[in-house]
Symmetry: C2
Subunit: 495 residues, 2 copies
């Protein structure tokens, strides 16, 4: 890329000992300029299904993303069996320039990115497909806008499908017509298996599901993905579940599913709650936490621009990466006032249109005592639109967290912790916050560094929906020069 900067995040890799290679522009590094080289080096310390993607501007939308599959050591096996292993990466696709999207999100008048034009399965989807493209019942592979992904399966075999979403906006439902899926892995952790017809999946999440090719081998089946969580205006994403030896581009004659009702939050919540640690692989969380941080998620107007805020603070990334500032004791490069650990719980009405006239763009950080246990309560609320609350997939860098519980309405710090699942909570790096609800999670601040925690919807993060945690900065080694070059690091130049 001769004129574009970049930074690449290794999503789900915890970067123990290498916090400078987490790949987050403004947090752990300066962006890599055109022609420059940055060698990311890190340890992959456990098997699982992870991702990589750009962490600069809107470059996920622009297409910089993929899977990282970390294999099990020889002689070790998963608690499930399969014959073949395939990856399926889901994406929403905007046909416009991500540069224009970014400009719109930071302009007055504000210009929202809107709903995506297509849904992609492994990079393939459909757009402006004419009747001629489908009338024959065979995909017109000569029109690349209308040629779907086709997964060929052998009758009777069992498939592990690693399914991930890196959508820029859309929450999705994924299904394979006529086939149930058994969920067995989430974000690298083994899941107590459960069967589902459709998998709800948010941006930043990975799953493994087991699917058996045990249906009518004379035909193909639809693979479909649909927008949920927002009122959809994007056509169903289509793929073909192809039974060998049928022609792999032969369309099923059935009608592709349009998925569950987009606003069926109860169904999504039920699936989220069903995701628990596999009984042979439970890692129990610490029974109590040392600190509770409640983050109220609101949408606000800040200086005339729509922004997302946490406890009235909308994150604006500093010019000097936090990691560099903290390691070098710069105090003039970011907001030194600690951000609030909670909001006005008693008086805030989460069902009213957000006003929060005190919301401001800034960049303070939560400084966490090293090796302590922290609970995060994500509290959802109404946006600036009447009767609207959105779904936000929150992703934590550098750590997994235990998901202790989900609830409707306002979190009650006296009562709700009593319902926490401390027995077999799943350890993940991404978790949804549902409309008007709360999500509680716990993590151990055992990874020295500076770590972003943010909504994985790219435009929401661009609009400030994130916070930053620091722990054990004194234990971080010498930073590589390759992450520098911007902001106050220029003061460190020996001229």
């Amino acid at each position: 890329m001769l004129t574009e900067n970049v930074a690449v995040h290794w999503h789900g890799i915890r970067q123990y000992g290498t916090p400078w290679h987490d790949g987050t522009d403004g947090v752990t590094q300066c962006a890599i300029m055109p022609g420059e080289t940055l060698d990311y080096k890190f340890v992959v310390d456990r098997a699982g299904t992870y991702l990589y993607h750009a962490h600069y501007g809107m470059q996920i939308s622009a297409g910089l993303y993929g899977f990282i599959i970390v294999k099990l050591p020889d002689g070790v096996s998963e608690p499930f069996a399969y014959d073949h292993d395939h990856t399926i990466l889901l994406k929403d696709w905007y046909h416009g320039s991500t540069y224009e999207e970014a400009v719109g999100l930071s302009s007055i008048p504000f210009k929202w990115v809107g709903e995506p034009q297509s849904l992609l399965i492994n990079g393939r989807g459909r757009f402006n497909c004419s009747a001629a493209d489908t009338a024959s019942g065979v995909c017109n592979a000569t029109n690349s806008d209308c040629s779907p992904y086709s997964l060929t399966v052998v009758p009777g075999k069992t498939y592990r499908l690693r399914i991930a979403s890196l959508t820029s906006l859309s929450a999705l439902s994924f299904e394979i017509e006529g086939h149930n899926m058994t969920v067995v892995e989430a974000d690298g952790s083994f899941v107590e298996p459960f069967v589902t017809k459709n998998l709800y999946i948010n941006s930043g999440e990975t799953y493994s599901v087991i699917v058996k090719a045990d249906q009518d081998t004379k035909r193909n089946y639809w693979i479909t993905t649909n927008v949920v969580g927002r009122k959809p205006s994007t056509p169903t994403g289509l793929g073909i579940f192809n039974y060998y030896p049928n022609y792999h581009y032969k369309y099923p004659t059935t009608v592709p599913t349009t998925g569950p009702f987009w606003n069926d939050t109860a169904s999504k919540l039920a699936q989220s709650r069903a995701i628990k640690a596999h009984h042979d692989y439970v890692t129990a969380p610490p029974p109590t936490s040392d600190r509770v941080i409640v983050l109220l998620n609101t949408q606000n107007l800040v200086n005339g621009i729509y922004r997302w805020s946490l406890n009235n603070i909308s994150l604006s990334l500093p010019l000097t990466p936090f990691l560099v500032s903290l390691k070098h004791n710069f105090t003039d490069t970011f907001d030194q006032n600690p951000p609030p650990d909670t909001y006005d719980v008693e008086n805030y009405d989460i069902y009213s249109v957000a006003e929060n006239k005190n919301a401001a763009s800034s960049n303070p950080i939560y400084r966490i005592d090293f090796n302590t246990t922290v609970d995060i309560i994500l509290q959802n609320a109404n946006t600036m639109t009447n009767a609207t609350s959105e779904t936000h997939p929150w992703h934590l860098h550098g750590h997994d967290f235990w998901i202790l519980g989900y609830g409707d309405g306002k979190f009650n710090i006296t009562k709700d912790p009593k319902s926490y699942n401390l027995a077999n909570p799943i350890l993940r790096n991404t978790v949804p916050l549902y409309p008007y609800g709360w999500t509680a999670l716990r993590f151990r601040a055992d990874n020295p560094g500076v770590w972003l925690f943010h909504c994985h919807i790219e435009s929401h993060f661009y609009m400030g929906m994130g916070v930053v945690f620091e722990a054990g900065i004194d234990k971080v080694g010498t930073l590589p020069k390759s992450i520098m070059g911007c902001g106050k690091t220029k003061h460190m130049i020996n001229s």
Copy 2:
């Protein structure tokens, strides 16, 4: 710009004592990253008509450009009189993304930018204008795609029009229907006045012309600009020369001129030759030069990509700006082999399709002894297309040069210097090289620093059409840290 780097060049400002603020990415500075600040500080030491524009990627095409008008000191006046002073900036406009253009120019298969979709006069032009937009004879100002620039003049008054071109590709002809223009200034130097019906103008050139509002005051006249030098496929750029008090958006009923024949090189050459220093403002060039550098302009395939080369070297900007490398004695940041001062004059056929299989992308520099006089002979040749040679406007940073002469065919170093105009050559910063011809210029290397000399067609420069001169680097003061941050300057970080 939240995700775009930038550098801004002050075109025509010589930057005596501030070579680090010439604004050329890769030559005098690292690009300015989003959110960063670089305060350009420089002395404007003489009056005249200059420009500013981006000098990064394809950002002129993206629209970052404008005039710099340096006024005369009080009590000093030009050798011409006028009542009013107006600026007219000409531009070719591509409707696509400049990011996509840049990708196309560096891809295999190579994708040329093609001809522009519109010509703009002071940012206004026309595109997809329907009959309804013009049928009434009045500009439909509600359609911003079809509302031209209108210059209102008062009958009987005299106008100085400062006309500049910052086209990305097109050489232009400019005229005002029914009005002659007297050319009086070029690139900040006073011109011995001459009258013309049309002004040929290349990217990077500025002119002042005097126009008298002495025609039929009952009507408006067309201002037109047309592509010359390449076979045009772009509609005539239209503006209105509006006689007050006629309605300023009333179209003339005459047919706008389509300009001179696009390939009438003789006419363009004649006008170039007519541009001489004003008799009261002649600065004589040194009578001889200390060094002659002959630069053969060829188009070549380098590693499968179309590039432009000078003496078989296609400029690829280094990651570390030349100025920083030279000041800090870095020898591993650019090609240390001096580039050739000439080509194989005897055997090279400038009328054959360029092959030059030895052409390579690289970044050597011409090191010039300080305060010596250098002659540059720009030698044109055939491109990689049969019977094709293009026009290239060459622009020198940090200096003006005397234009000693133009010629057809291959420059003859024995005979041709005898025809040099040493009596009253114009001092300029930009000069055209015509198809199959040569252009000779002379400059004094009296400005300590590192200076780019390049074709001002943005895509040609992007494709390597430039060389770099160094002189007096030992006289350059301490470089500001604000120009650093990229390439090997990271090694200078004190971590």
